[in-house]
Subunit: 412 residues, 2 copies
């Protein structure tokens, strides 16, 4: 979007206004990237924005026991009790450190814009429509990705979640309490889940599948199995100038071995693996480190291959990787997926492209919990994501909103 | 020392009191290590302590244009003008991150204790005796080791020093101003240098040379050439789950190559090399880094070998190392060294051991500036330094104080 003022179609004005309002929130001037971390002041600003947009559309906003926000039309509880639960759209507003503008917010903004479009078209939904804003999807602060949807569905234990700490040692419970949220209520929320008959998340693509397919919008097929592991590499702090090489116990050497093993093992096993986060102690130029902590992110089409990568990295590092999160492969509801691909057919009548992805999403967590779930992707010209350079063209964002509105009509 | 309350000889009570007073200052409860960084509140507390000890001994404390403190007996300016400049002892009170209790403070405390001992013995010094407390010896905050002595002697340019930044982006000038020191005065201080006829620094050994020699105290022969280089490894931030290995530009791989090259090149060239400090951006688990900054510390007996290590590491990393500091080899005044070794002869009459070191010291900077300079080392049972485990036995500390007092008598 990058500040373009081109018209956005019938509800385009609202999309552009929403996008412009979010643009400065949590943006780091030094990098141009976003730092929107869970339960911070920036997060509170984003939640207020979400609540304001919902109220402006006469949607009732309710929080769930996991810290997520839901804005519903009509009476979702009555509809659920009548066996006609609602259709929920949405995504998240938080970011990785120095992330892009689209990962998350595009799904939330597009959901509001699609609702606007449907209303302008006079569409009267036979079931409630909800828009969700998930808490802490990226896990940038407390280390667990999709924390909001995992808590909602009970995959993440409430006690474990409350005890998670950020880099400053603040627990999630403390951070939630400081933000005025009640960590004591954390846990699986069956009442909130009952309202969601179907969940549909629109997201910027994080690869170039749609570029190759020549389409602005596609449908998700599956999410690769993926996880995060921590490598605790221990050594002995010593003077960098006076300690003989033979007398050193330098954990930086184990780190180097682990980084190189991650790349070669990923190549060997047809997966991807990344060491993107490190902590060095004491991190002094003239001190051999006493400890290096490294985090390994590994994913791939096949679970066994991902596990093999992690084992190889542990072997090279000489330590057992500690699993911090693991998400098995997720295949989205095939019938739902095919209906959407047909509803979003291209001008020549062929169905919309159907793509796998290596990225985890709240939609994947809901799908794994048995909720009929689907995802739409919007074309990303470079494929770059989790970076200030992440981008989608305005025309493609507009096509995404239109596709989301069509999908709602098709599913309801 | 570790809280032992054993008697410390004639001036032992004062030594133990001073040691106990310094013990809690800047100590991190989580690691037991010291975080005494230049121009912080902790640094101010250490400076106040130094000034109090000096005043209790009727020494006049004067700062120099480099931020160092000097406590003198008598009138050092008059003595210098008369061609009889003083004998200065001392060391520093700052630390590396999570450093030990001895590196620096042992020299300062021993200097006060040696002066006490000389006075108790009725020694009347024919020339002024000074005790120096150097600013920012470790360079932990602003990246330049021995910043205080380098500024004093003009080796470090004042404008460059003022512009140095810490991890938070605070400049040295700002930090000094916040501490009430005048960064505008920074620069070579000929007036302060003229007072120092001879400089003598006592320091805990940072290796096991004295363990092997079976002696509590030794004399320094030389300081290896040593320096610090920065490696700016650039890549491209991308999503860890969706970016194919072939499409990645991951600077963590260059880091791994640099770390392994540092070790193998050091082995090959008979030097030591350490990568002890890193900065990763954005440092997120699920983001390929956009940049990794690594600092290389390299030292060795021969300058050419150290340069060869740095070149090999740059080649492996694919980038030119940026030199942040370089100190050529320093040989301490041979006549002074031999006088001290003889004055500190062992019970069997053999001279005290004479040892080279890989550690830089303010004494080395003063020696390079042409001041007759010597160092005494106190035995370190494990050789460990720059670590909370750094240690010297009380008996050896006591021997160090006695040796320092004997050295003063021998030199005056």
């Amino acid at each position: 979007m990058r500040g373009q003022s081109r018209d956005f179609g019938p509800s385009g004005g609202a999309f552009e206004r929403m996008w412009a309002e979010l643009a400065p929130v949590g943006r780091a001037a030094s990098t141009g990237g976003y730092r929107r971390f869970a339960w911070t002041r920036t997060d509170a600003e984003l939640r207020e924005w979400f609540t304001g947009e919902a109220r402006a559309r006469s949607l009732e906003v309710v929080g769930d026991r996991a810290g997520n926000l839901w804005a519903w039309t009509g009476d979702p509880d009555a509809a659920a009790a009548a066996g006609r639960p609602g259709l929920a759209l949405g995504s998240h507003l938080d970011s990785v450190p120095d992330g892009g503008a689209f990962d998350g917010p595009l799904g939330v903004v597009s959901a509001f814009a699609a609702l606007d479009l449907l209303r302008e078209q006079g569409f009267r939904p036979p079931r409630p429509i909800g828009i969700g804003c998930f808490a802490d999807e990226e896990g940038a602060r407390f280390g667990i990705a999709c924390a909001g949807s995992k808590l909602l569905t009970g995959v993440l234990d409430a006690d474990r979640a409350r005890a998670l700490t950020d880099a400053d040692g603040t627990t999630l419970a403390e951070a939630m309490a400081a933000a005025g949220a009640g960590p004591g209520d954390l846990g699986r929320d069956d009442e909130a889940l009952r309202r969601i008959g179907t969940f549909l998340e629109l997201h910027v693509e994080q690869g170039r599948g749609l570029v190759h397919a020549g389409a602005a919008v596609g449908v998700a097929e599956s999410i690769w199995p993926h996880g995060r592991w921590r490598l605790d590499l221990r050594g002995r702090a010593d003077h960098a100038g006076t300690t003989r090489l033979a007398d050193r116990d330098d954990p930086m050497l184990a780190l180097a071995a682990a980084v190189l093993a991650a790349r070669s093992a990923a190549e060997r096993h047809g997966a991807v693996a990344t060491v993107g986060k490190l902590r060095v102690e004491p991190n002094g130029v003239n001190a051999i480190p006493s400890a290096v902590t490294a985090w390994l992110d590994a994913r791939g089409p096949a679970e066994d291959d991902v596990r093999a990568v992690v084992a190889d990295v542990g072997g090279a590092a000489g330590t057992g990787p500690v699993e911090e999160s693991w998400t098995p492969p997720t295949t989205f509801d095939p019938a739902l997926r095919d209906r959407l691909a047909a509803a979003l057919a291209r001008p020549d009548g062929t169905p919309a492209p159907v793509l796998p992805t290596g990225a985890g999403h709240d939609a994947g967590i809901l799908a794994a919990a048995g909720i009929p779930t689907a995802m739409l992707f919007v074309r990303n010209p470079t494929g770059v994501s989790h970076s200030p350079a992440e981008h989608a063209e305005p025309d493609d964002c507009r096509a995404g909103v239109a596709a989301l509105a069509r999908a709602v009509q098709a599913l309801l």
